[in-house]
Symmetry: C2
Amino acid sequence: MAASLVANGNIAAVKPSVTGRFASVYSEVQNSRLDHALPLPSVLKNPFKVVDGPASSAAGHPEEIEKLFPCLFGQPSAMLVPGDSGEFKSGPSLKIGVVLSGGQAPGGHNVISGIFDYLQDHCKGSTLYGFRGGPAGIMKCKYVILTSEYVYPYRNQGGFDMICSGRDKIETPEQFKQAEETALKLDLDGLVVIGGDDSNTNACLLAENFRSKNLKTRVLGCPKTIDGDLKSKEVPISFGFDTACKIYAEMIGNVMIDARSTGKYYHFVRLMGRAASHITLECALQTHPNITLIGEEVAAKKQTLKNVTDYIADVICKRAELGYNYGVILIPEGLIDFIPEVQQLIAELNEILAHDTVDEAGLWKKKLTPPSLQLFDLLPPAIQEQLLLERDPHGNVQVAKIETEKMLIQMAETELEQRKQGGAYKAQFKGQSHFFGYEGRCGLPSNFDATYCYALGYGAGALLLSGKTGLISSVGNLAASVGEWTVGGTALTSLMDVERRHGKFKPVIKKAMVELDGAPFKKFASMREEWALKNRYFCPGPIQFVGPVSDQLSHTLLLELGAQA
Amino acid sequence: MAASLVANGNIAAVKPSVTGRFASVYSEVQNSRLDHALPLPSVLKNPFKVVDGPASSAAGHPEEIEKLFPCLFGQPSAMLVPGDSGEFKSGPSLKIGVVLSGGQAPGGHNVISGIFDYLQDHCKGSTLYGFRGGPAGIMKCKYVILTSEYVYPYRNQGGFDMICSGRDKIETPEQFKQAEETALKLDLDGLVVIGGDDSNTNACLLAENFRSKNLKTRVLGCPKTIDGDLKSKEVPISFGFDTACKIYAEMIGNVMIDARSTGKYYHFVRLMGRAASHITLECALQTHPNITLIGEEVAAKKQTLKNVTDYIADVICKRAELGYNYGVILIPEGLIDFIPEVQQLIAELNEILAHDTVDEAGLWKKKLTPPSLQLFDLLPPAIQEQLLLERDPHGNVQVAKIETEKMLIQMAETELEQRKQGGAYKAQFKGQSHFFGYEGRCGLPSNFDATYCYALGYGAGALLLSGKTGLISSVGNLAASVGEWTVGGTALTSLMDVERRHGKFKPVIKKAMVELDGAPFKKFASMREEWALKNRYFCPGPIQFVGPVSDQLSHTLLLELGAQA
């Protein structure tokens, strides 16, 4: 398939599809990104050698992790350092597979480009297999051979559509067997799994399995998720977080200016990120909203839904006294998962609804415990109905379907109405709801994500050539200029702990939650009162790809690296 | 208040508030825009004279318009042309007022900057009064004197927060009297009303009133609305449309890549624009969605809600046969206002609900006419409930509250389920809903809107100095380079027709609807079948402010100007 064609106007590249059934043309901005030059860390541009660190342990329960990963446990992390031997400057041709796993994140295509270019630059004659549709592609041996022509149109482009993704896992013995068969059939020297916490755990299990069977196939992971909850000392950030937050912050900033110009709406903005609230925190640091709810804080303070509502109403009342009857409120998608009483209510509802029908007279409600009944009665009628009626195929209440921002608008409205009657609030409250999610997962990668991903991929290529397995590609020192970035791999087992499920220990990479004593949260906490009342709205504007504003890092990353006061 | 302060990092300008009660600092992108140089049409950079065109008429019912505007009717439009006299190169100092009216649109601040700069450049010692909070500011004589320091931080920035806006109208004799008092009190030579169709009608009434009272105060209008429905031969586009559509198109493009990467969702995207579907059409031309609903076409074809649902289901079924179980669908906010049967149902419901209560048994339904009953029963239960329960203070059904995109998802779901049972559809349908609106009204103006607005304002200054009244600032020849843009003013009465309301003729500037035989719609119509099935997704990416991609015009404008095939 043709990789590029020059036609009239702004049509200059054809993006070949995975299936070949369609081709789409590019916008001018997409086109301009195709040939955007990506700087590499210096260590990757010159002869280097791979140096092992000390033996590693695990994030928790090392004895259990050792039992689960007898071949890999304890292996050191690896670091690329300048070396005059040039041993990895050129090597034999390799057969490498790559797979995208889980939800989209801007930059995935650049990881693949990085691996591809490493092989082209240093292992002439290599073959890169792109497994299609996620891990299922490995099991079914569904792949496409990635050529220069195939890869080019995806350089610096958003989405995962080069080879698409999937949410299957390689878990059962049969599935591991299928993966082995693919590795043998394609004679794979290595496999790179680009994914989140679960996918990287899976990558490590695969690495262990291949090693235990004496297969030559090495397996590396790569940290992907817009949620920013896959990180550690050596993996400073997952890719995609930077771009997604910038896209959401652009929208939030615009809504803020709108709120201030109109002067009569409270905008309740729900942001993607179910497990951890990093996205919401980062967007708050970028835009300075009046109210920001952080799930981890709500959980740590054991707050109730009433507490959260009161906090919102308090700020709204104080602002009304200052003459401001508008504002912007950020809410993490997973907020209600952090509220213990809501979890309790859901559990009781699931139990009751499994055995009883919901009678009109409300007799079923008597089976709720008093705190759950009280909470249920506090919920807006629309949410009550949603909980009772829209259940999943197993009959369970669908928490994910609750539009938290709308629920909070209704609860704030009720609370403010009561305060109005008591004379404590005199203004008029009008809420507008927003959900920013899908817009951010497939945007054109920011310069940071484009460069970071390329280095992650290029570094993964080097690690594969050096024979490493069971590592996650790690690029560090990110606050410095790209030339000074460090490149290496972190032992996946060192990131792991175990969880007991169905009586068995299962390895997990624990999600990195917002730490309440971490620099990003502390910065936010030190500013939020000022932001609540004084309207310090910050409007980041659209992501710029050229010019001095194009290379900014996220606040979260800078603060965690200690690079910003 | 300080206009700028240089602090550490990215803080370089303080935006003084209208009230002085708060100040917000700027992001790097906002800062970078402050000093963005704005090119002016050549005619404004050199000595020019104002040339009148032929006598004008009205858009309809000229005899009625003449009765309503005896002083202004028939006056010619004016054009600025090079002139060696330099008569308007410098003039006496003037006292000018400016007001923002109605909803926000990117670029409003630049119109004000343009007026301000014209006065600074050519009428030394002039005073520019910014009326605060819209037309109410005129009536209450609430204003701020716009100084260089005051205006600077708003240059090229989004929002209307420099002086804020409002939706009041100057309509009653008392209100006209108040406006007169303000004009006299401030000794105003002129007033510029920046607004949409209603606001410009109001501007003309004010001009007529001042003229009839022999006040010296001239009144000019300026075409503002993101909806793009205020335009004519001489006013090629309203400002803000360009930026808003580009912001929505960025998000739509991202969602498209997400849809293709995930392969399992239909994204239903509702877009702002209640009266006309220009925004939806422009976004379609920018992004190539699988389905686009244009209200004007639905109305012209007298389509029913069932027709619309069937069209959506047809495309989904055809795509399923091709293996595509994903897609993107654009829906104008005002869609259901274009469906005659829905209007009929709403009217009947309002009538019934005014007299009867809604009984559980559904007896009230018997009062609906058969077609309305059939339509009501077709609606998803959630929408039925919304119509019956959430009524406005007058008891009327709130059409504006219906989330059309969610309604269509539910209707498509039901239709596809039926087809599945009949064997005509075998895939699984999953809808995701989006509403893009507030994000687009206050974004940083695109280079086009920034430049266009500045010229509109600068040109308005020149027209005021030349003594013109009752004109709307008009900048044309927009497909050419900025230097070649034309500048002038169009007689507001020439844009007007009358509508009969409460037995009286009222002047109106008719909203410019999407024309089904216009170039933008025809282009769309010629492509939509291909877009429906072949996935020609186009991802415009974020607005860029520098580089070759930063000066693109909207497709609508280019096609209407005949500048693009």
